[in-house]
């Protein structure tokens, strides 16, 4: 295993501790429930926003806690949503009279935990808002009733809701803008390699060199199709041809365009994909309002990428441009 690790079972707690130490005191780590939370939250006059999903997707979601983004995050183990108790504790810790917003990615494990927690916390009198992110067009026209997965588009939902909360928006307003983003964001991904959960120690599956997995999930769950490796042009074409007709995005639309790395792909390749996607969209009359190139939602050290498109209007634009400050920053 080519990983920096002590005890693989302590992987999550150890990196969480690192996040808190790196924050200079602005973030706190609660080992009992694996929480990372803002030291200055909750505040009585501001909605709190929380998320908790499997680990292994960093920076999502433990490294995007901070002003303008999440107020707390409770990760589970690698690729396993958090136990219900972690969620209820997070909810209580961030309780405010303005309400707590849960932003949940659409997986059975995450949903059951967050829905149980919502029931329990509402029963104790908490005011809870709930957003379900499901942007992955790879899961389409399916008979499996759980529906589409939440993947890289999650970042935009958090960014918009966080900016609305910072503006003093009510829980209902945060939910409204979150739902608007969810209704307008679409994502699809491709993997060029597998990944190795630390406790497991071996790759989850194998992709031969020269092959690619189309419509990959972010938990190493295989995609819908294995194919011969394509050129970057072919891959962008394939992804955008799945994403664009789905909303659909149309000529004249303005979008935020994200190329998200899955963990093992260098940022140079992500920019290469970005350039191709940008030109592809321009040729269709779709213009990019703002670009996002880098790692937003990964699958450990998997080589691969997602393309996400978010159709923006004046309100979403303003929310995306609003300032924010998170652990996973550059400066």
């Amino acid at each position: 295993m080519r990983k920096f690790l002590n005890d693989p079972k302590k992987f999550v707690p150890e990196f969480l501790e690192g996040i808190a130490l790196a924050s200079g005191g602005s973030l706190k780590y609660e080992p009992k429930y694996n929480l990372i939370y803002r030291a200055d939250m909750p505040k009585a006059d501001r909605v709190s926003i929380i998320q908790g999903s499997g680990s292994g997707h960093e920076p999502a979601h433990t490294m995007i806690v901070g002003p303008g983004m999440l107020d707390a995050a409770c990760p589970g183990d690698v690729f396993a949503g958090p136990p219900v108790e972690f969620v209820t504790e997070t909810s209580k810790l961030m309780d405010t009279p303005r309400g707590v917003l849960y932003i949940v990615n659409n997986y059975t494990g995450d949903r059951t935990a967050w829905e149980m927690a919502k029931e329990l916390c509402e029963a104790e009198g908490q005011k809870i808002g709930y957003l379900l992110v499901n942007d992955d067009v790879a899961v389409k026209d399916s008979t499996w009733t759980i529906g589409r997965r939440g993947v890289a588009g999650n970042f935009f939902v958090i960014k918009a809701a966080g900016a609305m909360a910072d503006k003093g928006g009510s829980l209902e307003e945060c939910v409204r803008v979150g739902e608007k983003v969810i209704a307008n964001v679409r994502t699809m991904g491709i993997a060029l390699s597998s990944c190795t959960p630390p406790v497991r120690g071996t790759p989850l599956f194998e992709i031969a060199d020269g092959e690619m997995e189309i419509g990959i999930g972010i938990h190493g769950e295989p995609g819908r199709q294995r194919a011969r490796m394509g050129t970057a042009d072919e891959i962008v074409d394939l992804l955008l041809n799945a994403i664009v007709p789905d909303l659909p995005f149309k000529s004249g639309d303005e979008v935020a365009l994200m190329v998200n790395g899955l963990g093992g792909t260098p940022i140079s390749e992500l920019y290469l994909l970005y350039g191709i996607a940008h030109k592809w969209l321009a040729a269709k009359g779709i213009s990019v309002f703002r670009s996002y190139v880098g790692e937003y939602c990964t699958s450990l050290e998997m080589a691969g990428a997602h393309i996400s498109l978010l159709k923006v209007d004046a309100e979403i634009k303003e929310l995306l441009m609003a300032p924010a400050e998170i652990a996973y920053r550059v400066f």
Partner: protein, 223 residues
Amino acid sequence: MAQASFDDVDLVIKTMATTIVDNAEYFAHLDSIVGDGDFGYSLRNGFEVVAADYDTFDRSSVGAVLKKIGIVISGKVGGVSGPIWGTAFLRAGAAAGDRTELAPEDVIAMLRAAITGIMARGGASLGEKTLLDALVPATDSLEAAIGDPALKGDHGVAAVQRAADVAVKAAEETKSMLAMRGRAAYTGERSIGSVDAGATAVGVILQAIASAWREKYGEGASA
């Protein structure tokens, strides 16, 4: 079949917990074929606490101890399995109530309560390639055995073994099913051809319980 004493409850739960801990890697491996490979490790997070702390749990009633286990599982197990298995124990505990001994009919009622809870929590039906596809037929088999005169007088040794065999066979049959739930569902047609991890785990656990039961009550057993 005779009443099950609290000793028997202890035996079943401890067997279950150690079987899960011992098979964590195997179960996780099964989950990795079309799922995300965490299933066994997730379950282990809860059941290793059950195994270690069981003797400290409130055992004033079957309901009390099962509820405690449900809380431990909900608190420690992530992914789908935490809510699913946690709910199963909570519902079985509620069905058992303050009983300290269980008639065969009580066991069936508890299993049915667990199944209903799992279905309510996860939204799955039979045939969707989940642990229900082993748990339901095993429960049916056990229920049928209660009225079976051929299986009388052996403390349920044969009935439990038969239920475990049914579970193993049913788990094997999940191979041909299309996954409709959990992460495996995302793979669509590619989920066909491999067994469901949860259903297989039910089979393995029931086999372990059947062995423990035979060791205690079967011909030649010391008790």
